[in-house]
């Protein structure tokens, strides 16, 4: 039986009826058609489904939709301000951190949460923070470079 969940989704307060067994990933992708949150393993290992819950990076395949009640959920669709990309998004695009792009939403959101906590990270701190996100295309190098560039940008603002 469905249950109502009150959630702030990308800045909008909404009440959504969810089945108790739905994961947040399923709610986003299959019920709300918000497909920027990807699906890669459903076991919490690849990180392509990463979203922010109250600013913390969470793998949406490991969280039930019902658990978001009373929380703020930010997906990749909610990161840009209108047409203005988030500095991380811009850096990923401009610095070649996106090849196939399937892991990109997850990386960008995981990095958003990380830079909030550590605005001036070393390369090693970035790498350690991203252990839970897999990328098969880039070898991670351009992702590191993009996060470093975005960190500089974010510190200015």
């Amino acid at each position: 039986m469905k249950m109502p969940v009150s959630v702030n989704l990308n800045g909008r307060s909404e009440t959504i009826d969810v089945e108790p067994y739905w994961t947040l990933q399923r709610l986003l992708r299959d019920e709300l058609d918000m497909t920027g949150t990807k699906e890669g393993c459903r076991t919490g290992n690849c990180g392509v489904c990463t979203v922010l819950i109250d600013g913390q990076a969470v793998k949406s395949c490991l969280m039930l939709a019902a658990q978001t009640d009373g929380h703020q959920v930010t997906t990749i669709e909610g990161l840009a301000k209108g047409d203005e990309l988030h500095p991380l998004q811009r850096a990923f695009v401009e610095l070649g951190a996106i090849q196939c792009g399937y892991c990109s939403p997850g990386f960008i959101l995981a990095a958003t949460a990380f830079l909030n906590e550590n605005p001036s990270p070393t390369r090693k701190e970035i790498a350690d923070a991203l252990e839970g996100n897999l990328c098969r295309c880039t070898g991670y190098i351009k992702i590191f470079e993009a996060i470093e560039a975005a960190a500089v940008e974010l510190r200015k603002s």
């Binding site: 070649g96 070898g139 190098i141």
Partner: protein, 766 residues
């Protein structure tokens, strides 16, 4: 060819346009395509490695509320499908040949119902004797997987019989005689390499829609929509024109997405259910039942003179291609890459691939490359050790040079950048390696790819259209699975036409809207498709200039294009925008400006005074260096620095080009250190991402990529292929570094801590 005066976009690191939608979550991959009323599919898979199907009872599943369609092998015609050899059916008909082979499929209102329905299907099997080891599979008395193998349709005509899928014998010179030379130092060893998963982050996904009149459209995560259309059409018994395949953005391919394993199934379901049907595979299905790089055993013998010149090589390769094969023969065609980047006058390689009841083998980045390189480049280091020579020195002494015959015996090598790569690597080593501590070491290895004459037929074409507003649209069948193919297409068209890159867009990879294309792969897209785009853009440019010439009263030869304008070189006041010309074109006798790739490649090459079949104009070489340490207590390898110099011909987009190489190196690091599909009686044991270990961010070494540019003769603007070369020699580079660090030779990849430790302990005992 019309060479523009100064290059505007070629050589610029233009960001990928599709990256914007990927960064914001707007890019629709196949699994993101949505239609109202879409059903969810699930596949029932074989629970045996080899068995006869006695009966399938679907009655209960069909009766379950919410189930719209159930399909089995009975819905599939006897015609076999496959990308290279046609050796399978979309759903097993009489026998299953591997654990996880699709047996039935269901479409239902939601995933839960489909899952429940799958469990209600009753399959009766009669188990058959199974064989998992390729050597046993080839022995007399082994159970035969494909009794009708000789009658299968295959793209090549290899030697095949029994369970032998393919055998290639490659021989140059007089090998036995050469090994008999007095004083020759002979070294022999056996190398083993693992099965590797492509492990793209996006699993296979497809959605099919059937029109009321029976036409089927499939949106699929594939790099070869035209080839897959054939498999879908054959499975459904439809003419090609009644099937449409569309490849949207693809979330990584690495060789694995183009074989039509799931597309025919969703198409069958959607036809039966009369609703759109979609399927996304689980990671377990990906690693259990989809293709992987075939495991390989290589026995290698080389003979070298005391002065360091290698005179003889004798090698055998045996590959396990599983129950059905999507490799084109296990990579046996790449047998001559076992000869490496060296001039060896007497060489013999016998490469065999065998069917077994293991999961299917397929293409994985640089098919055949990492296996052969692990053997040859490990062997080169062992020879250097025997001769007390510097390993890079010995390689340089024997390295292929410009003008040499390719190791395959076909074609003359041109534009060889190998020596330049080695020199750059040496320079880097001299100033960047730093002190080498205890248990630390340095490994080197060379890489090679594409040492063959490029084909006459490119199996690709393109259309370049100039719109009324001066915008340019390129129609191409090529997919972009992340390599930046569509960006290269735009850059080449923009450059040839002299329009700003922002004005060029691409319509791609749709069998109904775009011209034929064989599929992205083999590091050949920039070279092959790039040329086709160049030709089509040149054709459009000719038409543009002809119209401009009429309007301006200036000879065509006098005209040039730049920044979206056509102008007279001698009188700058005579100019028109591309838009102004395009607007009048529609009403002119020549019609709208549409360029096609009309040029015959064979003729283009002959005009340059060369013969295509004799010219290896875009050979790809690289030199790799790793600095690493080995923990002698645990066997764990830590790579601190990694370097590669690679000849890319010309970097059309340097940042994307480097990105390909970085990604390739790390792909190779996975193969070198941790990636291996483990299997027991045909069941893959680590079919998930917590036991199949991919490289992660914390393990990435400091990585330096240097681009060497020795232009190809016939690639667009001198480009060569890039993507495969960097993943090939990494395992050997690491193994060579390990021996340098702790003095033990590990001959089996990946070099897991267990294997390194076992090698250390084995040395202790001897």
């Amino acid at each position: 060819m019309a060479a523009p005066t100064a290059l505007r976009t070629i050589g610029q690191s233009i960001p990928k346009r599709d990256a914007y939608s990927k960064a914001t979550g707007g890019a629709a991959y196949a699994g993101d395509v949505r239609f109202p009323g879409t059903l969810e599919a699930k596949v029932l898979r074989s629970t045996h490695a080899h068995a006869r199907i006695l009966s399938i009872d679907t009655a209960e599943a069909e009766a379950l509320p919410g189930v719209y369609a159930v399909v089995t092998g009975k819905d599939v015609p006897p015609t076999r499908i496959g990308r290279f050899i046609r050796d399978r059916h979309a759903l097993a008909r009489e026998k299953v040949l591997y654990f996880g082979e699709p047996v039935a499929a269901v479409a239902a209102v939601n995933e839960e119902t489909a899952e429940r329905a799958i469990r209600l299907i009753k399959v009766q099997y009669e188990e058959l004797p199974a064989v998992f080891d390729p050597e046993e599979a080839l022995a007399p008395g082994a159970p035969i997987l494909h009794p009708d193998l000789p009658s299968y349709v295959d793209t090549g005509r290899p030697e095949r019989s029994g369970n032998m899928r393919n055998r290639v014998v490659h021989e140059v010179g007089s090998v036995d005689q050469a090994f008999a030379e007095p004083g020759l130092i002979i070294y022999e060893a056996t190398y083993r390499t693992p099965r590797q998963s492509q492990a793209f982050t996006e699993p296979h996904a497809a959605i099919a829609q059937t029109d009321p009149d029976g036409k089927v459209t499939v949106w699929a995560a594939t790099k070869a929509p035209f080839g897959e259309r054939q498999s879908v059409a054959d499975t459904l018994g439809l003419p090609l024109s009644r099937v449409r395949l569309i490849s949207p953005v693809v979330g990584g391919d690495f060789g694995g997405k183009g074989a039509a394993f799931i597309e025919p199934i969703v198409a069958l379901l959607s036809r039966k259910a009369r609703r759109p049907v979609r399927l996304t595979l689980s990671r377990m299905e990906e690693i259990t039942a989809m293709t992987s790089r075939p495991s390989c055993v290589i026995r290698l013998k080389m003979g070298v003179r005391p002065d360091g010149s290698i005179v003889a090589l004798d090698g055998t390769m045996l590959m396990n291609v599983g129950g059905v094969d999507d490799t084109g023969g296990g990579g046996a065609g790449a047998a001559n890459s076992l000869i490496g980047a060296y001039r060896i006058p007497n060489a013999r390689v016998v490469a065999t691939s065998a069917y077994t009841n293991s999961s299917p083998a397929g293409h994985v980045r640089a098919p055949g490359g990492p296996q052969t390189s692990f053997a040859t480049e490990s062997h080169m280091d062992s020879l250097a050790r025997l001769l007390r020579r510097d390993p890079l020195d010995l390689r340089l002494q024997n390295a292929l040079r410009d003008g040499d015959t390719a190791p395959s015996g076909h074609g003359i090598l041109r534009n060889v950048g190998l020596q330049a790569c080695i020199e750059r690597a040496r320079d880097w080593m001299a100033s960047n390696l730093g002190d080498i501590g205890p248990n630390e070491g340095v490994g080197v290895a060379l890489s090679l790819w594409a040492l063959h004459p490029n084909p006459a037929k490119v199996n690709s074409s393109a259309t370049v259209r100039i719109d009324m507003d001066g915008g340019v649209v390129v129609l191409t069948g090529v997919t972009d699975q992340g390599g930046g193919q569509w960006t290269i297409v735009r850059q080449v068209a923009a450059e040839v036409l002299g329009v700003p890159i922002e004005r060029v867009s691409v319509i791609a990879a749709d069998t109904e809207a775009t011209p034929q294309e064989q599929g992205t792969g083999g590091s050949q897209t920039t070279y092959r498709v790039g040329n086709v785009i160049r030709q089509a853009a040149e054709d459009a440019r000719r038409k543009l200039l002809r119209l401009a010439s009429e309007r301006l009263g200036v000879d065509e030869e006098e005209l040039d294009t730049q920044d979206g304008e056509v102008f007279s070189r001698s009188d700058g006041s005579k100019r028109l925008t591309v838009a102004e010309i395009a607007q009048t074109a529609g009403g002119s006798s020549s019609g709208p400006i549409i360029g096609t790739d009309a040029e015959d490649r064979e003729r283009e090459i002959r005009e340059q005074g060369e013969e295509r079949t004799e010219t290896v104009d875009a050979p790809s070489f690289a030199c790799h260096v790793a600095k690493l340490s080995v923990d002698p207590e645990t066997g764990l390898i830590s790579v601190s620095k990694y370097y590669t110099s690679q000849d890319v011909g010309r970097a059309l987009n340097p940042r994307n080009c480097k990105g390909q190489i970085e990604g390739g190196v790390v792909f190779g690091l996975g193969y070198a250190l941790s990636e291996e599909i483990l299997s027991e009686n045909g069941t893959n044991l680590n079919a998930n991402l917590w036991e199949y270990l991919l490289p992660t961010a914390p393990g990435i070494p400091e990585l330096t990529v240097e681009l060497v540019e020795v232009p190809s003769t016939f690639g667009p603007f001198g480009a060569k292929g890039v993507g495969e070369t960097p993943c090939i020699p990494v395992a050997a580079t690491i193994a060579n570094g390990v021996e340098d660090a702790i003095g033990v030779r590990v001959t089996q990849a990946p070099l897991t801590p267990e294997r390194v430790l076992a090698a250390i302990q084995a040395r202790g005992k001897s």
